[in-house]
């Protein structure tokens, strides 16, 4: 992983709908290349453009509003990123420039995909989400991974805490490669295989 993360301030776009699935984040028809790149344009295509396959902006969609075009933070409801495991959803968000997603809860696979691609996905209470969504129209939102806090320029002397495990935090802050981390355990993996080949030979005779 290349990107590292410590503290981020930026424009935040509220998308306060529950159960926004990865088909909405990037429709399958927009996944045109055998690559992790070239997907940003397809982000939220069904909502962002006036026509299917077209590129004329739908002015009603939040990311097309003048003040929100440069958003780097999304604010969402519960179960954000549910549905298909397509990592293209995260690649599209990343290419658009999104660095942080604040939501009540996340789809499990999507949440892991965010971590793998340097996007900080933070769960907050509905009250804090509502407060931040309101505040996002008046100024930038700041997410501090080191302190584990979210604050808003427009709400004086207010911030809320968030939870994150030590491992994901370290991964995001240092931009670690999980494959390299796991390969440090290669001996343990190979020891398992050696024993398992005796215990469950059928697993290996394929």
């Amino acid at each position: 992983m290349k990107k590292t993360f410590s503290r981020h301030s930026g424009v935040a776009a509220p998308l306060l709908i529950d159960n926004i699935d990865t088909d909405q984040i990037i429709p399958s028809r927009e996944m045109k290349t055998v690559s992790k790149e070239g997907l940003g344009e397809g982000l939220f295509a069904g909502w962002r453009y006036t026509e299917v396959g077209g590129r004329e902006p739908n002015q009603e969609f939040v990311l097309n509003q003048n003040s929100k075009i440069d958003s780097t933070i999304l604010i969402a409801g519960s179960n954000f990123g549910c549905g298909s495991s397509r990592e293209h959803a995260v690649w599209a968000l990343s290419e658009y420039g999104i660095r942080v997603i604040l939501a009540v809860s996340f789809g499990e696979i999507f949440h892991a995909n965010c971590l793998r691609n340097g996007i900080l996905a933070v769960s907050l209470s509905q009250d804090n989400i509502d407060a931040l969504a309101n505040a996002s129209n008046e100024g930038e939102i700041t997410v501090d991974l080191v302190e584990q806090t979210v604050s808003a320029a427009s709400i004086k002397d207010w911030k809320c805490d968030f939870e994150i495990g030590a491992y994901p935090k370290k991964m995001l802050m240092e931009g670690l490669c999980p494959i390299e981390m796991t390969l440090t355990n290669e001996k343990a993996i190979d020891a398992f295989l050696q024993v398992d080949k005796e215990t469950r030979p059928w697993v290996y005779t394929v």
Partner: protein, 465 residues
Amino acid sequence: MQGKTLLDKLWDYHRVADAGDGYDLLAIDRLLLHERTGGVALKSLAERGLPVKAPDRVFALMDHIVSFREGRGRDEARSPGGEVFITQTREMAQKEQIHLIDTDSPMQGIVHVVAPEKGIALPGLSMVCPDSHTCSLGALGALAWGVGSSEAEHVMATGAIRVKKPDQMQIVVNGELQHGVSAKDLALHLIAKHGASGGKRCAIEFSGTTIDALSVEERLTLCNLAVEFAAFTAIIAPDKKTLDFVRDSEFGPQKNNIEKAESMWLSLCSDDHAQFDEIIEIDASQIKPQISWGTSPEETIGVDDVIPDTASLKSLTYMGLQVGEKIQGKNIGGAFIGSCTNGRLSDLISASEILRGQKVAAGVKAVCVPGSKTVKHEAEKLGLDQIFKQAGFEWGEPGCAMCFYAGGETFPPEARVVSSTNRNFEGRQGPGVRTHLAAPSVVAASAIAGAICSPSELKNFKCEQ
């Protein structure tokens, strides 16, 4: 002493190291890939100079965007420009010497249909696949879950995955399902009752007399929908039915190991005093045929119910429905039977029992795509293809087909479609398409009625017409 759950046992068996911060490093027995992301993952790994650690335990299948047109070509995709996903996955699979079940293989089909059918999925295995419906395979007593593409690369390179052990939920289902009520109805009922987030990222173990009575194919349908319930995965303890199901499969244990394997598999169950974090109990005898009305699987009601007054305006608008109106009798423009949820032989048989000697209503585009070539072949041996075709259904080549739109052929905008699939999200089956999720029998009855209709109401419905 506190007992262990089935998940505990599988987790502990595969755990090779503590990865810190509550994460474990689990050995992965099987990695499944498909052409939508397989080529990207294989290429990305090769570009980093990382070899595939155990190529003989990685399988690539072609299902997501292969054409479902009868007589399709080897590289023919259903999405414009999609051929390259097929050719690149094939090329990379051959280069890395992983198993390839190609478009022209007699074993080809949807990964979650083929894997159980061919013994690629087995009880006790740990398996991941970059597809969210991998939870289906838990029906065999495997620890199987969907991952992203980068996680798949990680498993290829290391043979293991870093993962946090999920909380555990037991869903106890007792009672006899009413005639005409299926595993699909049970799953939709569960999601409707407890919400699309109701699974709380737990690993769910399904148990109870209803589950014992389900066929393995029905269990695959039930576990398939766990991800729509926001579960980490689902699992069912293997029993004699499971053993019969996987015996003599292509990639299952060979004769000299079968006894040892089967005795080990039968020991895979939760201990009597095992503790779960959450428990849900369901009385199966109260469940009616279900259908989704909205754009989340939780927006589901009985086929004979009315749209609830709690319905969200956004969903109502997209679906062209109003609070308080009956769902049954709403005219439809499309019907689809297939997918990893309901594309198995028993699903096709249940639909064919309703379609036999009947005709699809005028103005309804009806399509059936068997979940695999094996299912298709078995169905054709039983003459089901003739029943479907004579009724006016198209009979397609195996793949995910119309479960999700990927560009290419689909239903027209605002078409109301009854579908045996798993997701009714906005645009899932095509821009503006209004998907109603239901069991194959409800799809078949609705196709004949030309309107949403439960099998039991089909007779009355036709009299009214």
